[in-house]
Amino acid sequence: MEGFLAFALTVATISAIFGIVGLGVNAQWGYGGMLNIGNVAGFGAGMYTTTLLTVGAPGERDFYAYGASLPLWLAIICGGFVASIVAAAIATPALKAGVSALRLGLVTFAGAEILRTVLAVRLDIANGFPGVHGVGSGFRHWAFDNGGQDFYDLLIFLIASAVFITAFALLEIWRRAPFGRVVRAIREDSDAAAMLGHNVLKFQVQTFAIGGFFTGIAGGIYVIWLGTVTPDNMLPAVSFMVMIAVILGGSGNNWGVLFGIIITLGLLEQGSRFLPTTDDIREIMPYLRRMALAAALILVLRFRPQGVLPEQRSVTVK
């Protein structure tokens, strides 16, 4: 059972990190009604910023131009700010043009793909496709020496969950504050909000930046845990995974995000790893697992289309 706990800890750490991304996306999509299918842009910006700020000067086999050797915590926070700028920079022109949610989704998706491709083909930014390795190795080896892999995983889990809880609390406060109420009002009817004198674009861009900040912080923690960054960490599949979790859990409800992540990344994804197998189907088992997962996803959406924990709409006084 001890072994199972160590595995559960790994899964919990991944869930906490992607949970932070989910909270950021929920601020943008759940509250703001702004679809961010390219949420991996902010996540990746956080990963790459943290990497280039923590690694040392390039070695003989490296192609990247610069490494700043900053402390990890500072690099992660910088990653958050860069991510927030990247996310807002991608979305702002589209928000200004007033595109629909689906088109904003496409614009963000395109932005993330452009960023990923450029990082992949330009060796001089961060080694291109092969990526940069050994990120945060000092911290990791300190942890390995003082308690091994499980201790290291536990530390990262505690950091990630502390950030998750902080992000959760901040976003709850923000949701209830006047700012959050205006953002939701814009989601429901942006024309009406504009008539009330709110600067719709400003609120939307700020929401995007706030969401982007959290996805960037998550990226920073993730890259240190992995110890490596490649452009493949920014594949569209990662964005989709987060969007599925948010919509399945319940858009607009932070508890829903938590449940969505636990259900998709935890129960369904890992549960499918434990499906029974026999020799006849062993070779196609990985595909059957994905099919079982997809079927479960469709069933949940079929019977809970509003998400497992839908948004609690404020009661209107009649």
Partner: protein
């Protein structure tokens, strides 16, 4: 840096044509069903493999296998709608989009389990695979056939939408489903014919896609990004918009090769899409306030 050549425009047109066949199907279906169906890519894959099965495995002539494939995929498309999407039609567009992503996962892995990772090729008759030199441009018979097919499909579609009862009902429902229902149009019937037509076009498009290159179980999952992007930029629900969107995507991809590393082709296509959307937020031929 390579100099300008007419060939790049011709290649852009060919790429656009391949995308357009599938784009028209996707946009018609999205216009009627009011959601964006990602699993359409798997119907494309099914089309390619169906043509392969009929023409290579069972040795039908290619030009008999293609219509049979269109029927097979059309039926599969309607079946997909009945089993998964119709029961969920009261959900919002985002839930349906994620559900279609789930269907896409399910089917692409089913195809992988069935057909494995082997890369297959269709046996194309010589008159299609031979290359011809027209002016300075070298293209194959397949390329010419695909461009011709898009022109014919567009004309037939125009006639159908303008002249036939079903076509008029489709246009009315895409414009305003509520109003269409009030005027006595049966939404179930319209939906049935739309999914049927979309499926047939997916079958044809998948076959064309396979003829220009190869078949593998993820081909549809991969091309759906380009198809979807061209549809959204063109204006969801409008088949002429899908043509325009495909034109933007195809041209920007092939013309960009003159200026930058072709590895960035897709990034350029996406950048062109973003610019198109910033100029016309509702899509090139789209209606305001729809998807």
């Amino acid at each position: 840096m390579p100099e300008f050549e007419v060939a790049y425009i011709v290649f852009g047109l060919i790429s656009a044509s391949v995308i357009a066949v599938m784009g028209i199907g996707l946009t018609l279906q999205a216009g009627i069903s009011r959601f964006f169906n990602i699993s359409y890519g798997e119907l494309v894959t099914l089309g390619a493999f169906s043509t392969y099965t009929f023409s290579v495995t069972w040795a039908f002539p290619l030009f008999l296998a293609i219509p049979v494939t269109c029927v097979v995929v059309a039926v599969a498309s309607v079946g997909l709608n009945w089993t998964v999407f119709r029961p969920m039609r009261n959900s919002n567009a985002w839930v349906l989009l994620i559900a279609s992503l789930g269907v896409s996962f399910f089917l692409s892995n089913l195809f992988f389990a069935q057909w494995g990772s082997r890369v297959r090729r269709l046996d194309v008759p010589d008159f299609l695979s031979d290359s011809h030199k027209i002016g300075d441009v070298v293209i194959t018979g397949t390329d010419m056939m695909i461009v011709a097919a898009v022109i014919i499909i567009s004309m037939l579609l125009y006639l159908m939408l303008q002249r036939t009862g079903v076509g008029k009902a489709m246009r009315a429902t895409a414009d305003d489903p509520g109003l269409a229902a009030v005027t006595g149009i049966n939404p179930e019937k319209v939906s049935f014919y739309t999914w049927l037509l979309a499926g047939a076009l997916a079958g044809l498009g998948g076959t064309f896609f396979a003829m220009t290159g190869f078949l593998e179980p993820q081909m549809g999952t991969r091309i759906i990004l380009l198809i979807g992007a061209s549809v959204v930029v063109g204006g969801v629900g409008n088949p002429w918009g899908a043509l325009a969107g495909a034109f933007v995507v195809g041209m920007s991809m092939e013309l960009s090769v003159m200026f930058i590393n072709p590895g960035l082709k897709l990034a350029v296509a996406f950048a062109a899409l973003v610019i198109a959307l910033l100029i016309r937020p509702q899509g090139i031929l789209g209606q305001k306030g729809f998807l």
